[in-house]
């Protein structure tokens, strides 16, 4: 292969590594001859398209590459991830299993397969896969982040917070780890650090509308006017409501009717507050941020 083509492929790998997928595609556009059908050309193009959320195109490119060059783990990994993003879970599973038949202990493939199981609602199996990946790879941001996602799927929000904190300790700059840490902080009632993590994750990935919305929601929770509503964010509002009813009727049964009435009035005021204030704060914040 001639040198300019090799340089382009190296450049494409670099752009991919620093998270500039559109530059990868530009770089690969200029390839011709043997270099255009090099396995790296298929792999990098597929990975870039997957990063740009153009998964249907990524799947086509990667399947062509696999037909031409035969199965190998890295390409099957990106193919499986693209199929998962497209929601084609059985096909994604087949891709990861094909990769794992070549190397049953590849940590990336094990974690990729775990993500498919999570999307299919099989959190226990996902957990076992992540632990197997952890036994073959030194502790890494990917393993901790995957553990955090497993904990989220299992509804163990405190464990999610612990694992996402570990992920951040491995790599404080990783946007995925920051987003997980932010979500876990919000779920465990720490909206201040939740906002910090979500806002920095959203800043690192400006194209992600969901992250932006989550950061904005977290910002709202930190507003001083939202402070009295913390119990609603911390517990299920229905549980708070049942507790209030129990207090009101408990006081009445105990013969403390005036106290019961006073508490009921306070509760009524609190309910009105909880209905009126959040939309107002949301509007103020949206006006400041620009919708």
């Amino acid at each position: 292969m001639n040198d300019p083509s090799e340089a382009r492929l190296r450049m494409a790998a670099h752009w991919l590594q620093i998270g500039r997928p559109e530059r990868v595609l530009d770089e690969l556009q200029g390839l011709s001859g043997d270099a255009a059908v090099d396995y790296r050309s298929y792999l990098f193009r597929g990975a870039a398209l997957h990063a740009l959320d153009r998964n249907a195109e990524a799947i086509d490119v990667l399947r062509d590459g696999l037909t031409l060059h035969g199965p190998f783990p890295a390409m099957l990994h990106v193919l499986g991830s693209s199929l998962r993003s497209e929601g084609r879970l059985p096909e994604a599973e087949a891709a990861f299993l094909q990769g794992l038949s070549l190397d049953p202990n590849d940590p990336d493939l094990l974690i990729g397969y775990a993500h498919v199981c999570l999307a299919a609602g099989q959190a226990e199996k996902a957990s076992a896969l992540v632990e197997r990946a952890a036994s073959h790879a030194p502790e890494s941001v990917a393993v901790s982040a995957a553990r955090a996602q497993v904990a989220f799927a299992l509804g163990k929000d405190r464990d999610m917070h612990r694992h996402s904190t570990e992920a951040l300790a491995h790599d404080p700059e990783d946007p995925n780890a920051r987003a997980l840490h932010g979500t876990a902080s919000m779920l465990t009632g720490n909206s201040r650090s939740g906002y910090r993590s979500l806002a920095s994750a959203a800043a690192a990935q400006p194209g992600d509308a969901d992250l932006r919305a989550a950061a904005r929601e977290a910002k709202m929770f930190n507003h001083p006017l939202m402070l009295p509503l913390r119990p609603f964010a911390r517990f299920n509002p229905l549980v708070v409501w049942v507790a209030a009813v129990a207090v009101i009727y408990g006081l009445r049964i105990a013969g403390l009717a005036p106290l019961s009435f006073a508490f009921a009035m306070f509760w009524l005021g609190f309910c009105v507050y909880s209905w009126v204030v959040p939309p107002l704060v949301r509007r103020w914040i949206n006006r400041k941020w620009g919708s």
Binding site: G87, G121, A123, F152
Partner: protein
């Protein structure tokens, strides 16, 4: 030795085009619409989330238990003073407890849905219809109970 962990288990059970509703939105339906409305919405949503058949049956069972509890409370508390605030509140408490159980049954698949990163659907139309329909149906059932008594 075949590796158990690397055996395919992902069926085609998850419909990715279905748009389920937020679990928190369902609490409003339960609060205003009662046990029947809550059960209807939880059952439909469980189908959208891809919850397995056994758990969906369990949702219907919690709904049935809730309805029986509501009828029981009505028989106990409905007296000469008619429908008191205590009766109304206790019927609502049953609906809310029932809803909490139904949310718990949906939660694992709701978390899986969130990890898939797709968007939720809007519960406004179905929610209001279920709230009104459920409340009317429950009132009719309780009216029937007063006739039988």
């Amino acid at each position: 030795m075949p590796d158990e962990l690397l055996r395919p288990t992902v069926g085609a059970g998850v419909d990715m085009s279905a748009r389920p509703w937020r679990l928190m939105s369902q609490t409003y339906v339960a609060f205003f619409g009662g046990v029947l409305a809550s059960t209807a919405v939880a059952y439909l949503n469980a189908g959208r989330l891809g919850v397995d058949a056994a758990k969906r049956r369990l949702i219907l069972l919690t709904g049935l238990a809730g309805l029986l509890a509501v009828i029981g409370l009505f028989v106990l508390l409905y007296g000469d003073s008619g429908v008191t605030s205590g009766l109304r509140v206790s019927i609502r408490v049953v609906a809310v407890l029932c809803c909490l159980a139904q949310l718990r049954l949906q939660r694992p698949m709701d978390r899986a849905f969130q990890l898939r990163g797709a968007d939720y659907g809007s519960l406004w139309g179905v929610g209001i219809a279920a709230t009104i329909g459920g409340a009317v149906a429950e009132a009719l059932i309780l009216l029937l109970v007063t006739v039988v008594l």
